[in-house]
Symmetry: C2
Subunit: 159 residues, 2 copies
């Protein structure tokens, strides 16, 4: 392991989430309306061409997470003891080192420095770190497999 | 815009990329062999259950990018003037604010604190910020569309 010394990586928000949800609850995210508002230092040129894509990945910093609650080990997802003990890197739970959230959202429209999207699971005021277009060749290649507990967990996540 | 003040977000690597490629070249990433080696402070428990998934998202910090070369505006991707001028948030190019890379990789195997993967476009020594399991419900919903220049750009990216 070459990283013997701690390394600090300092990032800056490029914008913020504006959403109809301000509480960090678990499910039914499709009920919300939201957009990403870019900082003024990123003119509308930074988004040029994004409307040629159907979807974008929004990368955000989950600043509402209590640093004392960060998990590095295994736990039952959502405390459900009928689901297996699972490591934090085999979950997408928010209580994770670096508090990075990533979600593929449908692009609705672009106006000036605002990107209107559907299906973002981030609360109002969340700092945004990056926006990337969704590119099919960057999706999973080959057959996709996931455990049944995850499929159950996702049942009401969006709808 | 609520983010009137600059906000600094400091992250720490959870591990590092070990790869047969050390030069930041553009294409043919599938030729390489690689794994993520977690820091010792993340025991193998943090990866528990990840082998139940076929794919994982690797989130990494592209520390080889020259800070002076960061783009916030629009440019022709790869300098190709036959491709349209495109904003940095409508590209996945590395010269971007916050230098975050995200790639969905096929999981090969897990041994102790090493995650062997296929299809990672990060060079040897790249700090890793997070690992998330690929969950089908987090993929793009509805029809996917992308401009033809991106499909051309991706032609030799992997193979």
């Amino acid at each position: 392991m070459r990283l013997s010394e701690p390394v600090n990586i300092c990032l800056e928000p490029i914008g913020t989430v504006v959403s109809t949800r301000s509480e960090t609850t678990d499910d039914y995210w499709d009920k919300e309306q939201c957009f990403v508002e870019l900082l003024e230092s990123y003119g509308d040129e930074s988004l040029l061409g994004l409307s040629e894509f159907s979807h974008a990945e929004i990368i955000f910093y989950m600043d509402q997470v209590d640093p004392g609650g960060i998990e590095n080990c295994a736990r039952h997802p959502r405390g459900r003891e009928d689901w297996p003990k699972t490591g934090i890197f085999a979950q997408r739970a928010k209580n994770r080192t670096n508090q990075i959230g990533i979600t593929v959202c449908k692009i609705s429209r672009l106006t000036d420095n605002r990107l209107y999207i559907e299906g973002l699971d981030a609360v109002d005021g969340t700092p945004v770190l990056d926006i990337k277009p969704w590119v099919q060749e960057f999706g999973p290649r080959g057959p996709v497999r996931q455990p049944t507990w995850m499929t159950e967990l996702m049942k009401n996540y969006w709808a």
